[in-house]
């Protein structure tokens, strides 16, 4: 029996992972706040720990947690950061 699939059957190639950092010393770390309640508290603590290990940090905030980050935010992370940490919260 021939059926029509409701699914988009395209197979996507997996994106390769970026190389893992050997050290945090001198790394520029983007901290992405998705704009959910208390996510900033989580990122504050992460920031503290990263700085203690010699990393520098910069913060970005999504417009709203339930939508993908704006292309501008993704571009700024890629341009300015070596690493990124995203904080989910509630």
């Amino acid at each position: 029996m021939d059926y029509v699939s409701p699914f988009d059957e395209r197979r996507r190639a997996a994106e390769p992972l970026a190389p893992r950092p050997v050290s945090l010393e001198g790394a520029r770390v983007a901290l992405l706040d998705i704009n959910k309640r208390r996510g900033d508290e989580f990122l504050d603590r992460i920031e503290e720990l990263l700085r203690a290990r010699g990393a520098s940090t910069f913060r970005l905030v999504k417009e709203i947690f339930s939508k993908p980050a704006a292309p501008e935010i993704v571009r700024r992370i890629a341009d300015r950061g070596d690493l990124a940490v995203e904080g989910l919260a509630d």
């Binding site: 029996m1 021939d2 029509v4 699939s5 409701p6 947690f65 339930s66 939508k67």
Partner: protein, 493 residues
């Protein structure tokens, strides 16, 4: 035929584990459910099984049927021996060079065949097992062709006979948990009605799947839609694909919200969409299947399947699908689509991200302010009782009796909305408990805070039976920055 420890056979048994037959002594009874002589043979030999087994003979029925069929026939015939099921292409039967069923084969301890009886032959079987079998007529009866003798085409037809399309849909995962209509190419073609199957409506999150007309048609068929419902499904899918609806966020959120489809205009009558008695519930095919088709596009095509990427904490029955018509003919007010800028004679679908409906009874109010307050205060509890303002759209399904009362008291739709908006306010100090908003947190104690930020956040449609003063409110899907979207039905068949 000789079968030994090295070239015996192993087949699934109704007792659970596979059984390996590698040596005798054994009496092998090759049978099939479709052959009446096989049933006769099993029934007549059944009383002897205990005695034969006691004498050291393993009595085995080898069915050329699936396990469940073999088990059923063995039970009905009272056959108490070993029951095995041989799958197509019946290699064991082939190895024994069977031509017809039933065939009884006796093998000795070394696995050598020492005799066989084809068909029902009481005298020959008595001789084969050295024990008298019944002398009740018929004493001889021919059987049927063994399935290993069938040609490939006959076997395929046989396979098809045992094939259950509905179960196949569950195995593929093409379902929301209820039975679906299999989307055969013929059904999907009929649903498309000549429209381009590859027409792309957009990409749907979270799977980022390409939503083509053909995939929407497949979902419409799965949901049980008639082809004439399809344009309404397409309009609903176009609506949820608008970026400002944020269907990706709605599809995966822990909030148990679904998507509610309200339909206005002539298409309602053309397809039998109900806006009257029981409008939000079951009973009407168009209502049940259009909403379900949209949900299948979201949960199957779009990847927002419950328990996988859809993380809805509780879900709600409306997530199966919820579609209803506005009863424009009974409503004293302008219809929803006209309020949203469409000509009255157009067919329009409006889609809302919404929680389950909350029923609101008011059989007592004697004036419009009192009734507005009842409806508004009920809505005050949606999302969370002290979460004011909501920050989203509330959809009220106003029953005809309530709507008529408002109209008799001289309130048009705009007045009802503004009075609802105004009637549900509290001082911030009364809202500082439970889950409350930043606005309430920052407000002065006596500052009045409303459940809605503006009357625009209140949408009224008239639906329901003529009798009964029960309206309902759907709370919004929050945190999505989502708005209700209207789309004109692209064609009517």
């Amino acid at each position: 035929m000789t079968f030994t420890a090295t070239d015996g056979f192993s087949l699934p048994s109704v007792a659970g584990e596979s059984v390996r037959i590698a040596d005798g002594p054994a009496l092998l009874l090759f049978v099939s459910e479709e052959c009446p002589t096989c049933a006769l043979t099993l029934r007549r030999l059944a009383p002897l099984v205990g005695e034969l087994t006691g004498a050291g003979l393993c009595v085995v029925a080898v069915f050329e049927d699936p396990l469940e069929v073999a088990a059923r026939v063995a039970r009905r015939t009272g056959f108490g021996g070993v029951v095995l099921s041989e799958p197509a292409p019946y290699e064991v039967s082939g190895a024994f060079s069977l031509e017809s069923l039933p065939t009884a084969v006796l093998v000795d301890r070394g696995g050598r065949e020492t005799g066989r009886v084809v068909g029902w032959d009481a005298a020959a079987l008595s001789s084969l097992v050295s024990m008298p079998v019944t002398d009740e007529p018929p004493l001889r009866k021919p059987g049927c062709a063994a399935k290993n003798t069938y040609d490939a085409e006959a076997l395929r037809a046989l396979d098809g006979a045992g094939f259950d399309e509905l179960e196949e849909m569950f195995e593929r995962g093409w379902t929301d948990g209820l039975p679906v209509v299999p989307p055969t190419t013929e059904r999907v073609r009929a649903t498309l009605g000549g429209h381009d199957p590859d027409e792309l409506l957009g990409e749907m999150a979270p799977a980022l799947a390409r939503v083509t007309l053909e995939r929407v048609a497949a979902c419409a068929v799965l949901a049980g839609c008639r082809p004439e419902y399809f344009p309404v499904v397409v309009a609903a899918v176009q609506a949820v694909l608008e970026p400002s609806f944020n269907v990706g966020g709605q599809a995966v959120t822990t909030q148990p919200c679904g998507q509610v489809v309200v339909v206005n205009g002539p298409v309602r009558d053309a397809i039998g969409l109900n806006g009257s008695v029981g409008a939000l519930g079951p009973g009407w095919r168009a209502n049940m299947t259009i909403g379900r088709a949209l949900r299948l596009v979201i949960s199957l095509t779009g990847g927002g399947f419950p328990g996988r990427l859809d993380r809805s904490t509780l879900g709600n029955p409306g997530k199966i699908g919820l579609c209803f018509a506005e009863d424009e003919e009974v409503s004293p007010w302008e219809p929803l689509h006209v309020s949203r800028g469409f000509p009255a004679d157009r067919s329009v679908v409006t889609v809302f991200g919404a929680d389950a409906p909350l029923s609101i009874s008011d059989h007592r109010s004697t004036g419009p302010l009192a009734l507005a307050r009842v409806l508004g205060e009920a809505a005050g509890a949606t999302w969370s009782p002290s979460w004011w303002p909501l920050g989203g759209t509330s959809l009220f399904a106003v029953c005809p009796e309530h709507a008529r009362s408002f109209a008799q008291w001289g309130w048009d739709k705009a007045r009802v909305r503004s009075e609802l908006f105004a009637s549900v306010r509290r001082p911030a100090s009364a809202l500082r408990w439970g889950e409350t908003t930043p606005l309430v947190g920052a407000a002065d104690d006596d500052q009045l805070v409303g459940k809605w930020s503006s009357p625009e956040d209140i949408v009224l449609v008239v639906a329901g039976g003529e009798a009964g003063r029960f309206s309902a409110v759907f709370g919004p899907c929050l945190g999505m920055d989502a708005i209700a979207i209207s789309k004109e039905v692209p064609w009517i068949t």
